[in-house]
């Protein structure tokens, strides 16, 4: 199945893009997606441990199961204000 993955700030610059479509095995969790991305995109590795993940605009735990079409966002430490 496919999910949309969005990247911001340092992770966006590392990826060279703000958005990809990613094919993942049905029933994958957030954690499994992140492991898969780190394997596939070495540039992302320095950020992998810092990134929090949002699924459909909500912060999501690593064990959250993903569904077809979900919008997953990779959020480096925020710095608003």
């Amino acid at each position: 199945m496919k999910v949309k993955v969005r990247f911001f700030a340092a992770s966006r610059e590392a990826m060279g893009t703000g958005e990809i479509e990613q094919e993942i095995p049905p029933g994958s969790t957030v954690e499994e997606l992140m492991t898969l991305l780190a394997n596939e995109y070495p540039a992302l590795r320095p950020y992998a441990r810092l990134i929090k993940v949002a699924v459909n605009r909500q912060y999501a735990a690593p064990e959250t199961e993903l569904r077809e079409g979900d919008e997953v966002a990779c959020l480096p430490p925020v710095g608003g204000g």
Binding site: A9, A10, A54, R57, A73, P77, V78, G79, G80, G81
Partner: protein, 138 residues
């Protein structure tokens, strides 16, 4: 008028305060973030703010809900955050809280800005002469 907004335009404190207009309010506290000209001894040329705008507006709204749940005297909350390139001296964020009377609004305002820096998906890149860096609180 939106109470929680990510914008690329100049922010006016008066305009944000006006979003709270209501004959029952007697006090408004605002926190105004301003781009500083230096950071850790470096002269900042400008800042670049980036947001995940849809989620950022939702988390701003969540902060407003949290504040009004914790402090019953707070009537309304508005938070407007600017993104894009900001020059030194420009306003990056305005948080405004209204109440009938003044007790507690200060605690509530402090809570709002602390939470904003903690959970809202907005990022800040400092650009100085000869370098740049993404900054976060932690």
């Amino acid at each position: 008028m939106k109470l929680f907004e990510i914008t690329t335009e100049d922010i006016s404190v008066d305009e944000v305060v006006a979003r709270l207009a209501n004959p029952a309010i007697g006090a408004v506290i605002t926190f105004v973030g301003v781009v500083r000209g230096n950071s850790e001894g470096r002269e900042v040329r400008y800042l670049e703010y980036e947001a995940y705008p849809e989620m950022a507006e939702e988390t701003l709204r969540q902060i407003g809900d949290e504040v009004r749940t914790r402090w019953k005297t707070i009537r309304e909350v508005a938070i407007v955050h600017r993104v894009g390139r900001l020059e030194v001296g420009e306003i990056s964020v305005v948080i405004a809280l209204s109440a009938a009377h003044r007790p507690q609004v200060f605690d509530a305002a402090r809570y709002a800005i602390d939470r904003l820096k903690e959970i809202v998906p907005i990022w800040k890149k400092e650009v100085w002469k000869g370098g740049e860096e993404w900054k976060s609180e932690r």
